[in-house]
């Protein structure tokens, strides 16, 4: 017997109306989010609200006041108390979706103790090329799909890496990426002893890029990688334009077997 309005008793009723979205698979999925800054905040929010069952969050930094223009889960007192980003994002997401298993790891991704094959997808929310390359290499080696996001002011990009056949992040890089390998952009609470100019960062671009990242992850988790971006989406928020560009595997890239 149908009770009027009973469909509103289901948290995910409206998600279930999307034909290709596999809610059971999302609930059983384990996802890694690397970076709990601006993008990480939005990505974890979107994953939790979408019903992903298990989220591990990695970040080594603490909150500073300048994060608060674009980080949903941080508050002024977190900056005063130097709260750790990974923990705060996990706490905030738990509040949104209590059934979600959230595991914060406060530390560098290079030191992360969780085995890579345990994850169904990795989302990169990082602020430097070096860490991106590390995550890219490990994900590709373990055949785990990797969805990387990046922002700069009103510009952003999302790249979807689908091993074993697709190009990886490193395939699209050149000497301009080499030159900024360890430079960190936007979010940082770590102490620095030299001047490091900060990059423009704001919530609207962060939200757009994080939304696209999570949407691509949902496609992968629902066994629909055929629907994914091939291979990089570039977004220009000032002009309100985006474009999807293709790239090929690079012969010199060490992440791929010799072709």
């Amino acid at each position: 017997m149908l009770r009027p309005g009973s469909y509103d008793d289901d948290r995910f009723d409206r998600s279930k109306r999307i034909p290709w979205l596999d809610m059971e698979a999302l609930s059983d999925s384990r996802v890694l989010v690397v970076g709990a800054g601006a993008l990480g905040n939005e990505v974890v929010k979107n994953l939790a609200l979408s019903g992903v069952g298990d989220i591990t969050i990695v970040d080594m930094d603490h909150v500073v006041l300048s994060n608060l223009n674009r980080c949903l889960f941080f508050r002024g007192h977190d900056a005063q108390q130097k709260g750790m980003k990974a923990q705060l994002v996990a706490d905030g997401a738990k509040d949104l979706f209590p059934e979600c298993r959230l595991t914060p790891w406060v530390g560098r991704v290079e030191d992360m103790p969780f085995p890579w094959p345990g994850f169904q997808v990795v989302l990169g929310c990082l602020d430097n090329v070096m860490a991106r390359l590390h995550v890219n290499a490990h994900s590709y080696h373990h055949a785990v799909p990797y969805v990387d996001g990046g922002t700069d002011g009103f510009r952003g990009k999302v790249q979807v890496v689908l091993p074993p056949d697709g190009p990886c992040l490193q395939c699209g890089m050149n000497s301009s990426h080499q030159r900024i390998l360890e430079k960190r952009f936007s979010c940082t609470g770590s102490d620095v002893s030299f001047f490091m100019p900060k990059m423009a960062a704001e919530i609207t671009t962060t939200s757009v890029i994080a939304a696209i990242q999570v949407r691509e992850a949902l496609k992968i988790l629902s066994q629909r990688p055929d629907m994914c971006i091939r291979n990089v989406l570039f977004y220009d928020g000032e002009r309100g334009e985006s474009m999807v560009l293709e790239m090929e595997k690079s012969e010199g890239c060490q992440n791929h077997p010799i072709m």
Binding site: L39, D152, C171, H177, R179, I180, K183
Partner: protein
């Protein structure tokens, strides 16, 4: 003999014409264009149509003809 390549700046909408030798690479194009427009140090890619061109590829390998147009696009690395 040099090849004329037009490089469009995705941020400013301006265009630059480079005269390139066949052995010069896409990275040479990025470096020249970035220097010409006084770009901040950052990462950039070059696209031709829907394709991102690999940095190490030579002009001669890409089949570039005189007055072809490519675009210099910043590659956002913040998060």
């Amino acid at each position: 003999m040099g090849i004329r390549l037009k490089v469009k700046n995705a941020e400013m909408g301006k265009e630059l014409t480079l005269e390139l030798s066949p052995d010069e690479t896409i990275e040479d194009v990025i470096n020249s264009a970035a220097e010409y427009w006084n770009k901040d140090s950052g990462a950039y890619i070059i696209r031709r149509g829907k394709q991102i061109l690999k940095g190490g590829m030579k002009i001669s390998e890409l089949g570039i003809l005189n007055d072809d147009v490519v675009e210099l696009i910043p590659d956002p690395e913040g998060g």
